[in-house]
């Protein structure tokens, strides 16, 4: 059993819904994250998938303590991170870093790449003395596959994929143990996506990083993750290893989600059965009682409206699933990937 580097326990984040300006009154709560628990092991990638509004980005912000949670605990190496105090927090931030989705808005347009990547050293001067900073930044540029000579350029002189590399270099600057990636490739073109994904894998091997990889693209998550958690309306509905989630999903929502992912293979058209979900995701300000998925679920019974299903291992499954009627079902016909095509080369 490898050690847990991060333990998240019953994490809750509610945002108040208010009415009035002078006499502000809270009339309800948006339950963005509602009782999420998981562990992150050293050196692994935990994928978190879900559709828009399921709370995955709020989770990232709370994990980074950019937002205070309503309640719950997050332990880093056994130490509770909330209520650590400013200096403890600063030390912690060195070990947990964030890569953001949008490489166009997350980099300050007035700072050069050198300043952007070197900024963490200003805050943590003991990591790199002033004299060696420029060299360190150039090393980082090289590590993420950018030209070290471009240290004096500004973000607008780079393409989207290159900017994402700058964001990654910045996250790496303090040699963190954990990187939280919030949709790091979703803004990139297909041909560039693969470059960034391969880079993330390479860096993980090189620096022994642990990733929390948040994305809506189930194929991307499968490719990168060792374990996967599926979120729906602020809760984890199913969690397990990559094989367990993709080959033996037990929660109806996971099954529906997987079946809706288009496979780039026209011959699968006839054989593929898509589970059609009806209706829309309910509002997180007023989620359904009991199981939150029951309003769209084809298996829903009376018990689903009255009793919240625990995220636990049931008789029908080999991994935790939050469904009263969890049952294995093959959705994606998985096969081992073949080798990349050898390209013929011929001189004319």
């Amino acid at each position: 059993m490898t050690e847990n580097i991060l333990e998240v326990n019953d994490l809750v984040k509610y945002y108040p819904v208010t009415r009035g300006i002078v006499f502000k009154k809270t009339i309800g709560h948006v339950q963005a994250v509602d009782g999420v628990s998981f562990n992150l092991r050293k050196g692994e990638t935990l994928g978190i998938v879900g559709e828009s509004g399921c709370g995955k980005s709020t989770l990232a912000r709370v994990l980074m303590s950019l937002e205070k949670p309503t309640r719950g605990s997050v332990k880093y190496n056994g130490q509770e991170i909330y209520g650590m105090g400013a200096s403890g927090m600063r030390r912690l931030r060195r070990n947990i870093q964030l890569v953001m989705q949008d490489p166009y808005t997350s980099l300050n347009p007035r700072m050069t790449v050198g300043d952007l990547i070197g900024e963490p050293f200003e805050i943590h001067p003991d990591v790199a003395p002033k004299s060696s900073r420029r060299q360190k930044v150039q090393d980082l540029l090289e590590v993420v596959g950018l030209n070290p000579e471009h240290i004096n350029r500004y973000p607008h002189q780079f393409s989207g994929g290159q900017r994402q590399r700058i964001g990654i270099a910045r996250a790496l600057a303090l040699r963190p143990e954990i990187i939280v990636c919030d949709e790091p490739v979703s803004a990139l073109d297909v041909s560039i996506q693969a470059q960034v994904m391969n880079l993330l894998e390479k860096l993980q091997d090189e620096f022994g990083l642990s990733y929390i990889f948040i994305a809506h693209d189930l194929s991307v998550v499968r490719h990168l993750s060792d374990r996967v958690a599926v979120m729906y309306l602020g809760k984890i509905v199913e969690i397990g290893t990559e094989d367990e989630i993709y080959e033996r999903p037990t929660h109806p929502y996971t099954q529906a989600l997987l079946s809706a992912v288009p496979v780039p293979d026209p011959s699968s058209r006839e054989t593929k059965a898509i589970i059609r979900l009806t209706g829309d995701v309910p509002s997180p300000a007023n989620p359904p009682s009991g199981c939150r998925f029951r309003t769209r679920c084809w298996k829903a019974q009376e018990i689903c409206a009255t009793e919240v299903p625990e995220l636990t291992v049931r008789s029908g499954s080999d991994h935790p699933s939050a469904c009263h009627f969890a049952e294995k079902r093959e959705i994606v016909a998985t096969h081992e990937a073949g080798e990349l095509t050898d390209l013929p080369t011929r001189t004319l």
Binding site: E51, S191, A194, D280, T334, A337, T341
Partner: protein, 345 residues
């Protein structure tokens, strides 16, 4: 190359029969005259779509796929965009030579378009019913009441529940998927023969995406429309397309029947794309990376525009632009080494 049977596509067209094609784009050229210089956005694009057929136009950002669609619709921003050559024939007549009034009549009734971002494509200050009904009043001369009734029928056809009530709501009151349905209802109001859908599901979640693609396919079957689906998503294309045209730097680099293209791509760019996307049904997959970046349209590389990124590139690729050559009855590729790619095991 002479030992290989090839025939140039444009020759076949020139030799030809007055084609009974619904919509044909031929050798279209568009440039954007900007302060930084002239960007050659479309450099000789040729494709066609027939009734009841789905053509997918696949490409990354900047490949010219959306600009081609805008030019067909006649909504290209001029300036900076200028059509510098080619034809767009609808029922055999060149639309680029028509008067503004004639083109206006084709829009909506002949060719209609669904845009990617329904929230910005719909007018936020009018109800969706009003926006759909407007077409019936202006183009069909219907009364307000009749037009509204027809608008409700349209919403019903795109399977929006409670259509009668919902026509009185504003775009922001609809969810993303429902808004896209409204867009589709609006584009289909005047029974177009060709529908251009520009990334219709890119902004949507997967479960909703599946619903919308189903709806589009169903409506297309019912009405026997020609559908041009513009997208970058190789998964969606595999599910719905009959034929695919792959665009790169303002050119079509490969065109093929959907099954042929996925089974054996005949252009290194297509192959690169197919092997660079992670697949949900594969374990232990390696991803091919296409090195470098798509070219700036201000400075398109000489010869084949893909050659600086191509793993198969030879000196000839930097010198000669490879024409889009027919490799078989249903496929064409613009690569000097297309034969090698097709005949590999």
């Amino acid at each position: 190359m002479s030992n290989v049977f090839v025939s140039e596509q444009s020759e076949a067209a020139a030799a030809g029969h007055p084609s009974g094609r619904l919509l044909e784009v031929e050798e279209l050229r568009v440039e954007f005259r900007t302060r930084d210089g002239v960007a050659k956005v479309i450099n000789g694009v040729t494709y066609h779509v027939d009734a009841g057929e789905t053509l997918a136009v696949l490409g990354e950002s900047g490949s010219g796929k959306s600009v081609t669609a805008q030019t067909i619709m006649g909504i290209l921003d001029t300036p900076p965009g200028f059509v510098t050559g080619g034809q767009i024939r609808f029922h055999g007549r060149d639309m680029l030579k028509m008067s503004a009034e004639e083109r206006r009549r084709i829009r909506g009734e002949g060719i209609a378009m669904v845009f990617q971002d329904a929230l910005s494509a719909l007018n936020p200050v009018f109800t969706v019913g009003f926006q759909i009904a407007e077409q019936f009043r202006v183009r069909r001369g219907m009364s307000r009441g009749d037009a509204k009734k027809r608008a409700a029928e349209m919403l019903d056809q795109v399977k929006i529940p409670n259509a009668k009530q919902r026509i009185n709501e504003y775009p922001h009151q609809f969810s993303g998927g429902m808004r896209q349905r409204v867009m589709i209802a609006m584009s289909l109001a005047l029974d177009p023969e060709v529908l251009i859908a520009d990334e219709p599901t890119t902004a949507l979640d997967v479960t909703v995406q599946a619903q919308i693609m189903d709806l589009l396919a169903e409506l297309q079957q019912e009405r026997q429309m020609g559908l041009i689906l513009i997208t970058h998503d190789l998964g969606v294309v595999a599910d719905v397309a009959d034929r695919i045209a792959v665009m790169y730097a303002g050119r079509i680099v490969e065109e093929a029947d959907v099954h042929e293209l996925y089974a054996k791509p005949a252009h290194p760019y297509t192959l690169g794309l197919l092997e660079s996307i992670p697949r949900i049904d594969e374990k232990g997959q390696q991803l091919r990376t296409i090195r470098g970046l798509p070219p700036s349209l201000l400075r398109i590389p000489s010869g084949c525009p893909f050659h600086p990124r191509c793993p198969m590139a030879q000196p000839v690729c930097a010198e000669k632009v490879p024409p889009l050559l027919q490799l078989g009855p249903t496929r064409a590729s613009a690569c000097h080494f297309a034969q090698d790619l097709v005949s590999r095991d």
